[in-house]
Amino acid sequence: MATILVDGQGVEARAGDSLLVALVRGGLHPTGGGCLCTGGDCPNCLVTADGVAYTRSCQVPARDGMVVQRDHLGGEEPALLPDEPGSPLRRIAPHAGEDAGAPSVQRSASRVLVKKAAPVQHVHCDTVVIGQGDSGREAAREARDGGLGVVTLDAREGQHVTGVYPGPLVVASDQAGCVLHVHPRREIVVATGAAEIQPVVPGSDLDGLVTARAAAELVAAGIDLGRAVAVGERPAELPEGTLAGHFPVGEGGWELVRFEGDGRVEAVIVRRHGDAGATDERIECDTAVLGLGRNPRNALARMASDLPVRVVGSAAMEPELPACPREGTVCPCSGVTVADLDGVWERGFHEMELLKRATLAGTGTCQGGVCLPYLRSFLLERGGRLQPAFTARPLNRQLTVRELAAGAHTAVTARSPLHDEHLSLGARMDRAGGWWRPWTYGRNDDEYRSVRERVSLGDVSSLGKMAISGPDAEAFLERIVPTKVATIRPGRCRYVLMLDERGYLLDDGMLCREADQGVGDRFFLTSTSGGSGFFELWLRDWAEAFGYDVRILNQTASLAAINVTGPQASRLLARAGARELPGFGRHRQVRIAGVDCRVVRLSFTGELSYELHHPAADACKLWRRLLAAGAGFNVQPHGLETLLRLRLEKGHIVIGQDTDYDSTPRRLAHEWAVNLDKGDFVGRQAILRTNKRPLDKRLVALRVEDPPVRQAADPSAEGAAIHDGERYAGYVTSDAGTAAGGTPMLGWLYLDAEGHLPREVTVDGRPARRVDGPTYDPDGERARVTVETGSESPENIGQFPVVRPEATDLAGEGPSGPLRLRRLEATRVSATPKALDALVEQPPWPAGALAFRTAPDELLVTATADLEVAGDPHAIVERETAFSYVWLDEATAERFLDRECEWRRPDARPALAQGEVAGIPAKLWFEAGRTLVLAPAPFAAAFQRRLTGSLAKPDKATP
């Protein structure tokens, strides 16, 4: 015996009772009236159960302690924060009106409000059978006999199917509060049966009306129906003696006219059409049992018309059409009457969909379960044409937002290996271009001055980084960038643009040609942080399209990068042990503070700058040692906000901020970066064409003569309009804000009618002057300054032992201890498939190492062996520390992956599989009894959180 709390009153429920049965047993109609069907086909038993509105009480088992409101709208907002004083609104937002910045209040709000996402369970099978009536059981048995893996879903077991989707994918709730994603390989069998047609006559909203099936269920539960009369078909399932009368309306000239009663039905009025005309008969009753015909529950099949769906049993029957309704409520969900239908018909709404839209019939919880047969018979009678049912759409059964979100994760933001270093230095981290970046360390002026006057460190690990080699590497890059690549000598680097086919700027970066000719013709190309995701696809796509013989290795996450910038940069590096540093426009391999770095010398800040690219695993060591070595120079790190100001003084553009979808190099004043005389490159044809058109606008630098005193809330002029006299002449794209004083802005400036670019304009009404070239160090002497390296004594060198990577002995490890992701020391190879085939035949790495063929031309080896790839002189072999790993035992792996891996895992052992796990791209290595999970290091923290979070969710019964 269970007790449920209904509108504050205790109601006893027996074991096996649905909530509806318990309510009826307690003498309560869930909604006060309306025919009950117990099949989930109507809205007449909706309640609010445990705070969830619109709950079909016939589909929910009565549970002890359940709190029910007989108001399916939910009434008052569920008391999520019962202790909070004040209005309901205040209860949802406890910090409204208070200091919105107070984190403790916000945390408490989100802790209470965001319930844990429901767990999801992915199930793979051959066949899924929806519905376990006779035909469903039969279909499941047949499939099992045929040797197929079958999953069955049954509403009586709490498995309510919301929809059938491409994939194919069947989504269903489960009794244990979890959401099932069933992925059938072969077939979806819809065996959902048929719904009973509801009455549409005056009085159909009374209590005491039940369908034949509902009557049988209530009687079986021991509920006394009182004096019950059957209307329509004789209910076969009712025990003898239950009925006090039977009136076969719908046949033999019988017609159902109305129900009479006050709250509860007291009589049924039927009409008999005989030879002598029509006579009405009034039959007194306590309960009317209705057998008005059946309508197939085929919505799931209709919403999946082009999927492998088979409909069996009564779900496959032809719909029975009731008589055209004369009077009464057709759509109880939206409260639409026959008079409403007549009204809109008269107004010219004759199509099924227009009738639906003009009355809202069929748009409620039951999605046409009650009204659809009547809408069809209404339209047939009025228009003489039987119209098809309106479109079946998900959700067939309505889950909550929380349940539907099961298994989804928000987009993950990558972390630099230096993330925790920034935090410990007091940085405010912010999302920018898909990465967490240090926005500011809280002292912008000092950050700025440390770059301009001393020396500063900036984390640029998020830059896209690509190693490219192969016989065609140079020819390939000539096609990709508009700069002449052939003239970049070994050891040199150059700023390059990347254009799309329309000649519009996609991205920019720097292109380095390797100095060491021993590795063949090899290049290193960077892109912006935001573009790095697209960058590899772009390169590979063109390499394939042009058929070039190149190797491409994405090192974005493999390499961290620290920009050492400022007039003292070379002194700091010398003190950190750098013996030889490259000159401007050059790069070279240098060991700094015990770490092997590729040092590239270009400049974004305008000062002497060295970009140190190095293995991600060494980033923290290098960062700390550089800070220590620079202590004497008062070295400070600088954040992104400062960097944006520094570059603005140099007039450097930021892709996405200063560029738009139509930014040609000419509009950006970057013609100097385009060589039209070299061979063809992506975008060249478009540039030749657009160069013939008169120029319309140009990105220019503007200096406001009289810097306005701006409001704190409006620190930047970005977006401000530029006027040339009265003429609108463009808008500002970049402005460093109040603190930056006279720093010029960048903005789009439209040419005037004569084709001239105005010199004197106004910005926000203030006079401004277009300036040519950078305002800071116009000749670039500071960035290009010649420095003598080695002049600084490397006094701290003793503290910088050479970092010697250790191979990870994965074979010797097992799934024991805490589930903590650790950094993997590995080697990654990009080589021709043939060469890799040969390599794995006779592996040169230690026996304990594992080798994963992650792509035909790519290999990941869990050892730091200096591999020789005999079959490919252009192979790229690099130390790889961009993956984190964890071993899971079989049970843990299964539990985790059933929840977080949507795709089907391989059955073979051992096996490698790659794909998204918990919303993060991962590699899985399955061995007998244990599974290795590899996640990209920038996402390791997020993966760790999702792994632990997922395993902490409660278990559920498997289907």
């Binding site: 009106g97 759409r393 309009a721 609108y728």
Partner: protein, 402 residues
Amino acid sequence: MNEFVERQMKLTWRPLKKSYDVVIVGAGGHGLATAYYLAARHGMSNVAVFERGYIGGGNSGRNTTIIRANYGIPAAVRFYQRSVDLYRGLEEETDRWLMHQAKGLLWMAHSEAAVRAEQMRAKLNTEFGAETEFVEPRQVQELCPQLDMSGGGRWPVLGASYHPQGATARHDRVVWALAEGAMERGAHVHQNTPVEGLVLDGERVAGVRTAAGDVAAGAVVSAVGGHVSRIAAMAGLRLPIRTHRLQAFVTNHYQQQFGPIVASSELFFYASQTARGEMLLGAEIDPQPSFSYRSSHDFVQDVCRRALCLLPFMSNLRVLRQWTGVCDMSPDYSPIMGQTGVDGFYLTTGWGTWGFKAIPAGGEQMAELIATGEVPELIAPFGLDRFARDRTMADRGSAGTH
């Protein structure tokens, strides 16, 4: 009876004639608005609108009913502001209840970069007449008390651009009011009458081909959504259009009032409350081109997850129904309106995810173009020839979601 049952509009269906001055293909919002303004503003009523299904059955009946003008380039802001203004007067003009309601639109920023982008949007919009201001978190919370300002602890609201004229209107009623207004002035609308081809007179388009025979026309306007590439191909045009799915869903009735329209370009979703009290959510287009009207689970799944970060009160609401429209996306995320280079053939397309809010202005301007033969200044930048002339209307402000 519910309060939303239609009891004002009267649609009058008339038999097909052999010839019209103007034939419009597609009886969605844009087609019907063009017919309406031709009749109401220019006295041209010998006009027919052909529809393969029922009126408003395409994207006009599948959108999320949002009206706003806070776009990213001056020409677009001006154009959409015209539409916002026309929408405001449309109930009075048609004497019909369109359930138009100015709610204000909040566009959330969760990072400094987004704060800058929203501040920029506010400035640019205000300059061109679409009032928008950047508001601090405290004001955001006042405008929408339901927001979890911590973004579930991960997506804090650092501010928002606020567009007070952001509004919604019942999409079907807009369509019906325009249809009724055109019909009562004499225009014809023919449902269930697909245009199967164009009648060509030399280089000129001179009519349309239907199952009921050829129909002559002084001008043919394609106001087709989702399948414009096919109609254009009949006129020998190849359009820079890719068609993508755009999905949306509603929940059951939410008991409390949810005031504004809330959008987040970093969490990629937007939400508003319908007049019936349902929460209506949408997000970005599906990335791969498709003509399919099939909805997907991952859309609902992901959007529910993202929405819960900002609107945790939705946790216990049930998702009632999801659906899909197909969007004609132009390469620069701006519409294509006007002449086509083919005599007698006009286009209004590229309505992407922003078609509904443009209905009155799009119809008004197209009607003026057809009636006067002069390209109105407001839509001159949006001609098809802009792609060949390197004068694309690249609009990051519309490349968002709705």
